[in-house]
């Protein structure tokens, strides 16, 4: 029997998003496991600087959430790739759905986990601070408290970096489903160019373009345009796939 109900795209996407939030709850579990590992690694500080002179040896330990942030970025990329694997893909056909609504729900899910991942990664630093006071007597040196605008910019940048990794992972996952040969060639080329040919301008250009951008507005524009482009590419590529393949 056919249904004549008109269902809007937004309501389908919202329902799918809600379903995915429950169904892919394991993503949050893996995020937690990796961040706990990051906390353990950072017990003695994320970074260490040592200096010795004739009269003193100074060991400087720095607490920051950089390890947790780095782990979360990698987690975002890998989780997004896994979202496109066959097992997850097939589940989408339990719904009245099309590829676009599925992609939009996935993008919403990845945005949500990026926000959660970014905020929780930042908070891991404080677990190390509290553990420091439980284990040691030395006070912690607080360096240059941030302005509120710098704080907001930093949190947003953290979330955008994770979402950026998600977008890369997602498009890579779609390529993997679309053409496995190309999907294998891409990382081999990227790693091979790095190890085999040594320095190439691509990495330095990428680094300068995103990580060295000090204007927050320009950074947002660059990253959002790239993320949109990557998700757009994923949608276009998946349209070339056969259904359920």
């Amino acid at each position: 029997m056919m249904s004549f109900n008109n269902i809007s795209l937004s309501s389908i996407v919202w329902k799918q998003y809600q379903y995915k939030q429950k169904s892919y709850v394991g993503m949050y579990m893996s995020l937690m496991v990796l961040q706990l590992i990051a906390i353990l690694i950072s017990i003695e500080g994320t970074l260490y600087t040592g200096e010795t002179t004739d009269v003193f040896t100074l060991n400087m330990h720095h607490y920051s959430a950089d390890v947790a942030f780095f782990f979360t970025v990698i987690w975002g990329g890998i989780s997004a790739t896994l979202l496109t694997t066959k097992g997850y893909w097939v589940e989408n056909f339990m719904f009245v759905t099309n590829r676009l609504s599925n992609h939009l729900a996935n993008i919403m899910l990845l945005t949500t986990v990026s926000i959660v991942g970014g905020i929780t990664a930042l908070l891991t630093k404080y677990v190390n601070v509290v553990m420091h006071y439980m284990l040691r007597d030395e006070p912690i040196i607080q360096i240059s408290t941030l302005e509120s605008s710098e704080l907001i910019a930093g949190v947003l940048a953290m979330i955008l970096y994770i979402l950026f990794a998600c977008a890369i992972g997602y498009v890579y996952g779609i390529i993997l489903q679309w053409n496995r040969f190309i999907a294998i060639v891409i990382p081999v080329l990227l790693v091979g160019l790095n190890f085999g040919l040594g320095y190439i301008g691509l990495y330095a250009t990428m680094y300068d373009f995103y990580l060295q951008e000090t204007s927050f507005l320009l950074f947002i524009i660059k990253v959002l345009v790239t993320i949109t482009g990557l998700f757009g590419l994923a949608i276009v590529l998946s349209n070339r796939k056969e259904e359920l393949k």
């Binding site: 892919y24 709850v25 394991g26 949050y28 579990m29 893996s30 937690m32 496991v33 990796l34 706990l36 500080g45 994320t46 600087t49 200096e51 002179t53 004739d54 009269v55 003193f56 040896t57 100074l58 060991n59 400087m60 330990h61 720095h62 607490y63 920051s64 950089d66 890998i78 989780s79 896994l82 097992g87 929780t120 908070l123 891991t124 630093k125 404080y126 677990v127 509290v130 030395e138 006070p139 912690i140 040196i141 607080q142 360096i143 240059s144 408290t145 941030l146 704080l151 910019a153 930093g154 940048a157 953290m158 970096y161 790693v191 190890f195 990580l211 951008e213 204007s215 927050f216 950074f219």
Partner: protein
């Protein structure tokens, strides 16, 4: 190419294994799995929030990070160069000693070899006295002037007995510092991003001995005379 070059790949594989393993576990969907994970994750977030709350009340030593280049001063220029030590910023003079001496007896000066430079100035404004001053310029590690935490520990030990002035280096100390720092995305849009080049600078340690011109000096160790 060392094994370390492959470390990122190994870490990546480990990550894939962990994430894949946890996600695979979720597929088993044992009873109330969704509720169970939700409960654990909320517990984790609560732990993070409690830690963040407690960290507001723990004591911190607040330090402002500064650019070492901006306080770039070469103390030696004021002693061995074209400038005069009296022009040195008074905050760099850390300690002063004065001893009474007799002009009839020669003054033996025993000074250490090492990182501290010892200068001697002959002056006419001191009568039967020697004036000793210790100067120390800031020592920056990661933009932090660490001297503020260890200054007295690195002061030289100066003693005077039986016409002998003995200068010794203090016993070497080892200290651990723990700092709380901003993450990379925070540094990217703050002033801290510009500090990386000027974050390190070795401090200079100088001891100045001022003695009357009529006292005979017998140095034992490396000393440099000013204006001679």
């Amino acid at each position: 190419m060392g094994v370390l070059a492959y470390l990122p790949l190994l870490i990546l594989l480990l990550f894939v294994a962990i994430i894949f393993g946890v996600l695979k576990l979720s597929k088993h969907r044992f009873r109330h799995y969704h509720q169970y994970v939700k409960f654990i994750f909320l517990g984790y977030v609560s732990l993070l929030l409690i830690a963040a709350g407690i960290s507001i009340f723990v004591p911190y030593n607040e330090v402002v990070k500064s650019d070492a280049k901006k306080t770039d001063i070469f103390l030696n220029n004021y002693f061995a160069g074209d400038r005069h030590w009296q022009d040195v910023d008074s905050s760099y003079q850390q300690k002063q000693w004065e001893f009474s001496v007799s002009s009839n007896q020669p003054l033996h000066i025993v000074s250490p070899d090492g990182g501290m430079d010892v200068y001697v100035e002959r002056t006419g404004d001191l009568q039967n006295k020697i004036d000793i001053r210790y100067f120390q310029s800031p020592h920056f590690i990661n933009g932090i002037n660490v001297m503020q935490f260890i200054e007295e520990d690195v002061f030289p030990i100066v003693t005077f007995q039986d016409s002998q002035l003995t200068i010794r280096e203090p016993k070497s100390i080892e200290k651990n510092f723990y700092t709380i720092q901003s993450e990379l995305p925070f540094k990217q849009f703050s002033e801290e991003s510009n500090l990386s080049d000027g974050a390190f600078r070795d401090g200079e340690r100088i001891l100045l001995i001022r003695a009357s011109e009529d006292i005979e000096l017998k140095p034992d160790g490396n000393i440099t005379y000013i204006n001679q």
